[in-house]
């Protein structure tokens, strides 16, 4: 378990997340892509914390902040999905080409 291997795995997770967020049409699947990107970011941050930075307790706070971002993203994302479904009956990006109220 080397730092290089860990960072390559994190890069693979991030790359798959980028692909998913850009290619999927359904809102929930786009959110899954975003979650995968954050997954890769967490893995990279903890790898560097654990192997390259000597494991200072302050370093873990970055991961706590990233996890907060993940929870915020999921909650607001679901709320937006509910809102746009209620108003436009849209569950795919193609159905909201017109954003005006």
């Amino acid at each position: 378990m080397t730092l290089e291997a860990l960072l390559v795995v994190a890069a693979a997770l991030f790359g798959i997340g980028v692909y998913g967020a850009l290619s999927q049409q359904t809102f929930v699947m786009i959110m899954m892509g975003l979650e995968l990107m954050i997954n890769g970011a967490i893995l990279a941050a903890v790898s560097l914390w654990s192997i390259a930075a000597g494991g200072p307790p302050k370093g873990s706070l970055l991961v706590v902040v990233i996890m907060t971002v993940m929870a915020v993203e999921a909650a607001i994302g679901f709320a937006l999905i509910v809102g746009i479904y209620r108003i436009r009956k849209a569950d795919m990006t193609e159905k909201v080409k017109r954003l005006r109220g």
Binding site: V9, I16, Y19, M29, G55, S60, L61, M70, A74, A79
Partner: protein
């Protein structure tokens, strides 16, 4: 990571392969509910790797969070999406070629950074990183912890406000399209 024994390496490679493969399966599953559980599998793999990296607390918190979140996501799939059971093949993608290019480009760029950059080697020295993190969270870095808590509170209020049926100035659905009205 001070312990570089063979079982840790074997476990790491199995978990890494499992998390990357299940991440890929997320966008290849025919059912969105299955996609949510593939994503959960990917997070389980990463959480276990974090435990191997002596970040036990963060790894287990990740597992706990994602188990709850993916269950909610699966419920959302059943509520909103067509074909939740995966009875028909499902490929709903747009700008596929550009997305593949961007994904591969992001992977190659980040992997190049990971492989080419010179990082110092300083393994974890603390004997009990979890206890140190707890003291840090409720000691010197309490502001960060509190800020995260307030941000989550604001998120809860905001999510309720966005999803609410009735807004402050009347019906939130006023001016909305009837079902099937938007082409």
């Amino acid at each position: 990571m001070t312990d570089r024994s063979l079982p840790v390496d074997v476990a790491f490679w199995i978990l890494a392969a499992a998390s990357v493969v299940s991440a890929w399966r997320v966008f290849r599953a025919d059912s969105m509910v299955r996609a949510a559980y593939w994503l959960l599998a990917s997070f389980v793999g990463v959480g276990m790797i974090l435990v191997l990296l002596s970040a036990e607390f963060l790894g287990l918190v990740l597992l706990l969070m994602m188990a709850g979140e993916m269950t909610i996501m699966a419920v959302f799939m059943v509520m909103f999406m067509m074909n939740p059971a995966g009875l028909n093949p499902m490929t709903m993608v747009h700008q596929h070629r550009m997305a593949v290019t961007a994904g591969v480009g992001a992977f190659l760029g980040l992997a190049a950074v990971g492989l080419l950059a010179e990082f110092p080697i300083r393994p974890v020295t603390a004997s009990e990183p979890t206890a140190e993190l707890g003291v840090e969270l409720l000691g010197d870095s309490m502001v960060v912890f509190q800020t995260a808590g307030v941000a989550l509170l604001a998120t809860m209020i905001g999510a309720v406000a966005i999803a609410s049926r009735r807004g402050r100035f009347g019906d939130a659905q006023e001016g909305s399209e009837p079902p099937g009205g938007e082409q």
